[in-house]
């Protein structure tokens, strides 16, 4: 019940939450996404090319990656008309639990807080909600590395298997891998540098495993993370040029 109230309220407030988030990023932080129009067109095209719930998996270097990716993928007016374009997020609860305003913003900004390394029952409840939302046609944005990469690169050794479990539990789920990085982003940080310009690449994959349970979750998560690592090579190829 609580989830559906949050879903309804966040839908109603998409124009407001989008507006403030984008104004802050665009004018407050002076961020730029040079290929914004092409990126959004490509995103819509990828969604049209198949059916099934979409799990968006991004690389993770800053604390506002989810906001930036949301901005990159769809304009506010379009997300207002089609709320599934505004994905749900699973932020670490401790990042905002102390501030009531941030908690409210996260609530209307479609966040389902997770206690990292918390009680498994609690994590399980959140994952059940994620499954429900995906089956209802919403999308979700997850960072499969489980946290900001301390290497500054996609970490193909230490990643979480949670995303694999989610994909396993939702039949027909597609995974949109999104590689997103500021040109000035050398390492992980809280925020990208002011005025940074962002590179973005995306690829839709359908990861699968013949194994059930945890082994299958590990296989699927591995496929996603390796796909992101491949896309990162593309970023460095472009950067070298």
């Amino acid at each position: 019940m609580g989830l559906w109230i949050q879903r309804l309220l966040s839908r109603a407030l998409i124009p407001v939450s989008y507006f403030f988030a984008i104004v802050w990023m665009k004018f407050g932080r002076r961020y730029q996404i040079p290929a914004l129009r092409d990126t959004r067109r490509r995103y819509r095209q990828l969604l049209r090319e198949g059916t099934g719930p979409v799990v968006i998996c991004g690389n993770h270097l800053t604390a506002i990656d989810s906001l930036l990716i949301m901005w990159a993928l769809a304009p506010g007016w379009r997300a207002s008309l089609k709320p599934s374009l505004m994905p749900w997020n699973l932020p670490d609860k401790q990042n905002f639990s102390g501030n009531i305003y941030i908690r409210f913003l996260c609530y209307v900004g479609r966040c389902l807080p997770v206690v990292r390394k918390g009680p498994r029952d609690e994590v399980r409840k959140v994952l059940d909600k994620v499954g429900l939302l995906l089956r209802s046609g919403d999308s979700i944005l997850i960072f499969p590395e489980g946290g900001r990469s301390r290497l500054g690169r996609v970490d193909t050794e230490n990643f979480s298997y949670g995303v694999g479990g989610i994909v396993q539990e939702v039949p027909g789920a597609r995974v949109l891998c999104v590689y997103f990085r500021g040109r000035e982003q050398k390492d992980f940080s809280t925020m990208p540098e002011k005025g940074d310009k962002f590179y973005i690449d995306m690829k839709m994959i359908k990861p699968a495993s013949a194994s059930p349970g945890l082994r299958g979750a590990r296989d699927i998560s591995g496929q996603i993370v390796h796909s992101l690592a491949e896309m990162e090579k593309g970023y460095y190829d472009v950067a070298r040029q």
Binding site: K117, R120, N158, S160, Y161, G213, L214, R215, A217, R218
Partner: protein, 83 residues
């Protein structure tokens, strides 16, 4: 398989995932994998899968969730290999 055999094998399996090797050397049944041995929580899954491979058993998700200490792992393996 008895408790002692299982304990030794469990220690062998979890060694590559352990950051606190000093704690591993003096590990007992109540030694906690995450807090005491410094195992990364994401690697708990790898440990459970390594148990499956090492002992040729299948561990369901609910049982895997209960493996929090060395003793939990030993009990689970003894139970699975004696049935």
């Amino acid at each position: 398989m008895n408790q002692t055999e299982a304990f030794d094998k469990v220690i062998k399996v979890i060694t590559p995932y352990t950051k606190n090797t000093a704690a591993l050397a003096s590990a007992k049944s109540d030694t906690r994998l995450l807090e005491d041995l410094g195992v990364n929580s994401a690697r708990l899954v790898d440990i459970v899968l390594a148990f499956e491979d090492e002992f040729s058993i299948a561990i369901d998700d609910d049982s895997a969730d209960k493996v929090l200490t060395v003793g939990n792992a030993v009990d689970l393996i003894v139970a699975k290999t004696t049935h």
